[in-house]
Amino acid sequence: MKRLIIVRLAWTFAILLGVSFIAFILMRALPGDFVLAAAGTTSVSAEALDGMRAELGLDRPVLEQYLVWLGNALQGDFGASFVTHAPVLQELAPRFFVTLQLSLVAIVMALLIGGVTGLASARLRGRVDWLVRAINGVSLAVPNFVIATLIVLLAGLYFPQLVVFGYTPFAVDPLKSFGNLLLPGLALGLAVSVTISENTRAAVLEVSNQDFVMVARAKGLKRSTVLFQYLLRNAATPIITVAGLQVATLLGGSILVETIFAIPGMGQYLFDSITRRDYPVIQAIVLVAAGVVVLINMLVDIAYIRADARVRL
């Protein structure tokens, strides 16, 4: 286990290095730069623009800029936002927490919805199976920003007393904070729930046909014992895998969902920063997102070992 974690951490470092480089190059390859975005439509002389670029170091070769950024980053300095001039990490931390909270709500909802529908589909078969799969098909086909917009629209029309937009900080009122995130979490988690539902269905169907389930029934065990100890414990591994892989989907989806629900999270921040070409902020967010995905993958691997004694990594 220790060796596994050390190897994974080394890999993580390599992955983050690669991701940071690609993100750096891609952002600078986009047409326009921070200076042009900041100038907006106002007419500013080319000399003035160049002066600003020189001040921010944007006039140097891209590779040199990257190495400077990397050198600072390795010492824990991720620079300051071009827009607010505040240190990036200080700006990012609270927003990261909000997105973490939203993703948590979304993954819990996705696991609940997907787990229950997938299980019902596999166990009850017939019409239930047909219905679940039809709904899954539709939910998968509709992008999350459409679902988010529909939720906002329907909630606004029929439940005007509900607060749909905005976010209450966790420190102010933890319960209300999570309450605010239920609808956005649903919008974000719905697509993920489809994947979890389909995989739960397939996994449970496969395990149902295993001999040890028949043996468990021949032992006269209660239905709940057979379900949890025999069926679900064996179906858990593929479900954990899928849920882990979907974390990346959640991070990507949070950009649009946070923007629609006016939630001050990392996704919305990324969206704004890309529009403004706020390079240091974009760079930090990409790193954090990549780090989270790698970390979750490691946790999934550890979960394998815990769930199934046969697994040796």
Partner: protein, 272 residues
Amino acid sequence: MSAGTPLLSVRDLTARIATHHEIVEAVRGVSFDVAPGEAVGFVGESGCGKSVTARAIMRLAAEGTDVRLDGKILFKGRDLLTLSDREMGKMRGRQIAMVFQDPMTSLNPVMTVGAQIDDVLRRHTDLYGRAVRARSIELLDAVGVPDPARRADDHPHQFSGGQRQRILIAIAIACDPDLLIADEPTTALDVTVQAQILRLLMRLREERGMSLLLITHDFGVVAGMVEKVNVMYRGEIVETGDVDTLLSKPQHEYTKSLLAAVPRIRVAGAIS
């Protein structure tokens, strides 16, 4: 129970299996008795309905298949087909237990073998706490798993096929059932291990006074193990009798051809 009353009395059992496009009569009007302590064999080729008959007594069907049972399955005078699912659940593993064909796939891979004996004990006995595991270890010892106290914490993949079948037998006998159904218990095992498992079943049956229903396609397994044999063919019992008579003087054509199909080693003139 008075002497002579059968423990199990199956009368006119019919099993219909509904598939997507048709209804198959897998078992047609089968009747037989098993006396207390008696060992009865069922022999027939694959698909003859012997496994369906065995599972019918447990009221078990493969997942996702729709099996309709008609007739009577009288166990200690009660018709099992009229019991509620709850009542049947209390019967399974407690009074009637079953050992299956493939030990490699019959144990839950994510639970320790000890835990898989514990759960049947917890379900049907009054044991609790440490007494449960102590009993599980005794059972592993009784079926010949070496070093049972330590090995109870191992997972199924750490055992060989023969050892796993021993563990499954331990699970089956855990609550001292009156009837043990063994459905092809040695088919998936090496020949040398087969004999060990059969000897184990014989010994346990004698020690505990259980009745045994042994299902197999192999006359070699039945000989020396059971008193009575039923030969099944296409869902029906075509011949029944005590094992020695049936092996020496088979009446039905099908029994004769089955017996002729058993490979023989000719000792006379064998390569020395």
